[in-house]
Symmetry: C2
Subunit: 551 residues, 2 copies
């Protein structure tokens, strides 16, 4: 079996028709959901691209892999999904975005050059890169945000789009009065991107994927990782005007949220992106474009599914559709992601396992508490391996796909490190205290802040919209304590004993005894009979060299 | 300045005359203490050789470096003291024991061969090995406990000691009726080891150290790491009968400890080594030998100090004397180490900084709560560096050496993983739950057990001998909660963000803006004036390729 591990970037859990969106029709997501299981309570390990993705790709919590924010290098030697799968004889390919930054200093310390196979895997997050394109080709006075080469920009240039950065000038810009109207500006979001639709990012990566599929031998895992519907919010025709203001869901926000908010949340309210999404004119421009981008993703997914069917690969390919985090889109007076309301921290997850053992669950949903790190474990099991749970911190979802009811976790954890953001400075918090932890048990969501702030608490049963922060309500003190107990248990987890599995440990028991380490002998009679002779040796004369003082 | 970082193995904190031992005279330890500072509350990160040492050598907690027990490989790429010091231009040499096991699988994954400089450092815990000898040359039916070469055994063979393993047959055995009487047997501990004193382990490593010193250029850090007074408890003449039963301290144990003990402690009581040390005849054989071994260490330390003085190196060498853990020696009905009473978890630590800035503290003691991980940070500062506190979890002791009163930690943490021991199986605990954590705040010592056991609690102010376990006393529930809060805080520590320092983070703030990442623009007017032109570019015509549908 092969694994097609498809990730969209910044795709909200509820912007799919199979997830209940009333106006956004996504027949191809729905088509996979109808053949598989849709996991309705899936949470990312961090609501920010880089940290979240490093958790997907290592199967480990953010505090375990340490790449806590975008551009924080994943340290050399961290074991990745690719390492696990290759050990099982499955190739692991990358097409698109990882947002992984190589640990150049660590690689230099270990003498690893990025132009070797080993070095390239270290630099590409454990994948073999079919086409790595992180999809954010911002360019400013200090140069490109991303110093790597962009296969997509190269493709565009090959197609005749001019300039140094056609990603910015065409794929992510419209035209107004004959001049470039950049997609960075929200008020341009309703313009069609100035690019042939088939040359835009999502079709380009879909074509790359088809090219990959047509030559792949397998077994393979292909991480097909689209940058969209991530900003810049702009989409080519015909998607740019497929949705209108009437298709926008009512904004999920309440003036109570602005009254005496938690100080860290208050700092979020004051960001420029929050300010922008608090304006109706921004939401009315951006959300239809966001929906258009998703609809384009869906159409391209259909193209991919059709190709799999046409080439007979559908029956031996596990298909996984997910996202690295959501998008506030103005909900809770916020834009972007970066915090822990459902809009940001909850993601879509659909898994279709083509094998007969999953037949009983096709078209169903599963409301177990799932974490992003569960995918790596799932893929290891799907590839025929035993999950190395001394390294992978997630749990295989295969039992759910088979319709079993496994004993399962009681809570999920998500983390956010805002040390590099202006909020850290504005709040007067030290970089190491600029960390937030979410514990969610399926009903209660506790948000803990380092740095001496009180926690936040939401009851998603009585307050599914998360308007009422109960974190300073003495009536909930005991509940808060219980959630803190979960966090403390998690804090003591066995995360770094990555060189010894439980089986290694069980094998090691008693091994030193048979290698002559016997630090407990009173008179020698305690040596097990089978070891006595080997241990004591023949009762031979010793021949010590003459002592100097005997001369 | 150079650093002579001397470690003894299994040396109790209170078996030095400067620490108050009434019968064991250690004039050379005292000589260093008189020139430096003796830290009287120093705790190891784990009361077991390998895990403790990996904390010394990485400056990180056991749960951070993951090498939780002897023989658990230190994962490839973990940053060591040697890495930090070399970056500051200081060499970092090993003479003697580390008990480090290389991560062979990890090295293979990264293509690192142990015969290259980089590979050798990975395999030798970050040191350059002058003479690596881990000092435990046990041999049984499954071969040697330690598969590496033994420079010490080679030395003995060169000196004419016969057989495959003269370490066992001579250095660690006496003679009885003309036959070998092994030091593994406690009842042989009063015999003189059948070896010339100058050929025994401690003088051998001292000679190696002098040979190192005579050629070293510096600046260097030399980790001189003696295996003694670790078992096998046997010592050559004249040390074998230097102490008698009258010199033995009264055993620190109380029958109350055996009444309804904590179940995990009860399992310790039933180990063979505990059973042995519960017998007076064992203590009366072993402790005088243990004292003789320490006295030999002291004499050899004197030899080393004399050599430093004679060669004029005393004034530019920081001298550090410590141990990797203690030894119960029958206290608390236990033998060995492996648990958290003071006899096991507290260590001697004496630091003599020759520089004038430390003149005000010479001959003093410091009762701050010190952790073994503080040494790596201390050495980095001593070598002129800033402590990389995103990697090193300890704190430099230099302020204390200068007589300052720095703000300091409120508690120390120590950990023990008993998964590989028979106690894990006997208690029916899974390997990953076979973990114990100690939190000590200077007065109260909480011992937390994974796996559902109640905690233990000692009050070292009213009960310095740690006889009364208050862990199930409801009167202390609040205090226990407070200590658990410490443990939870520690559990959330920032341990793995090793690729980004706080300074890196502060530098990164706002950097993406100047590289064209601007996801917050409503109409473009928000771009800072200094970036507007660079960002927006000239208001040029775009030249998009003709769309297909225009043909």
């Amino acid at each position: 079996m092969n694994i097609l591990f498809v990730m969209y970037d910044q795709l909200r859990f509820d912007y799919l028709s199979c997830a209940g969106h009333p106006h956004l029709h996504t027949p191809n997501f729905d088509r996979v959901a109808a053949r598989g299981v849709r996991f309705t309570n899936t949470y990312v390990q961090s609501p920010i691209c880089g940290a979240s993705r490093m958790s997907f790709y290592t199967g480990r919590y953010v505090s375990s892999h340490g790449a806590q924010w975008n551009g924080f290098p994943l340290r050399v030697g961290e074991i990745t999904l690719g390492d696990h799968l290759r050990e099982l004889g499955m190739e692991c390919w990358l097409l698109g975005k990882t947002h992984m930054k190589a640990d150049a200093k660590g690689m230099a310390r270990l003498g690893l050059a990025p132009d070797t196979e080993i070095g390239a895997r270290q630099a590409d997050c454990g994948f073999d890169a079919w086409a790595r394109d992180d999809g954010l080709w911002g360019q400013g006075p200090d140069g490109f945000y991303d110093a790597k080469r962009s296969p997509y920009n190269e493709y565009l240039k090959g197609k005749g789009y001019d300039g140094e950065n056609p990603w910015a000038d065409y794929a992510n810009a419209g035209v107004e009065n004959g001049e470039m109207a950049t997609g960075w500006i929200f008020m341009n979001a309703d313009k069609p991107a100035n690019i042939r639709e088939e040359d835009s990012e999502t079709p380009w990566l879909t074509s790359e994927t088809i090219r990959f599929l047509d030559q792949a031998k397998g077994p393979w895992c292909a991480h097909v990782s689209f940058i969209k519907p991530h900003w810049p919010y702009i989409v080519p025709a015909p998607y740019h005007d497929m949705y209108g203001t009437g298709d926008i869901l009512p904004v999920v926000r309440d003036t109570a949220e602005l009254e005496d908010p938690h100080p860290v949340l208050a700092a979020y309210h004051e960001t420029k992106v929050a300010d922008a999404f608090q304006r109706d004119e921004v939401r009315e421009k951006v959300i239809p474009a966001y929906m258009g981008l998703i609809r384009q993703c869906d159409d391209q997914l259909g193209r991919l599914l059709d190709h799999l069917e046409a080439t007979g690969q559908m029956d031996d390919t596990m298909i996984v559709l997910t996202s690295d985090h959501g998008d506030y889109l103005g909900d809770h007076w916020l834009g972007e992601k970066d915090f822990f309301h459902e809009a940001a921290v909850k993601i879509p997850l659909i898994i279709c396992d083509p094998r007969a053992e999953a037949d009983s669950t096709r078209g169903t949903t599963c409301d177990a508490l799932v974490e992003a790190i569960d995918l790596a474990a799932t893929f290891v099991e799907a590839a025929g391996g035993a999950v190395p749970d001394h390294i992978l911190e997630g749990r295989s979802l295969m039992p759910w796909l088979r319709g079993e009811r496994p004993a399962w976790r009681d809570f999920v954890i998500s983390e956010y490190d805002y040390s590099v953001t202006p909020r850290c400075k504005a709040l007067g918090v030290s970089p190491r205290d600029a960390r937030i932890f979410m514990v969610f048990d399926g009903r209660w969501k506790l948000i803990h802040f380092e740095g001496g702030f009180r926690p936040m608490l939401f009851d998603l049963e009585t307050d599914p919209d998360e308007f009422a922060d109960l974190g300073d309500d003495p009536a909930h003190a005991e509940r808060i304590d219980r959630l803190y107990d979960h966090l403390a248990t998690w804090g003591r987890r066995l995360a770094q004993r990555v060189t010894m599995s439980d089986a290694d440990i069980e094998r090691a028991r008693g091994a030193s005894l048979r290698k002559g380490i016997m630090p407990f002998l009173v008179d020698g009679s305690e040596v097990p009979p089978e070891l006595t002779e080997a241990y004591r040796g023949p009762a031979r004369q010793v021949h010590a060299p003459a002592r100097d003082d005997e001369h």
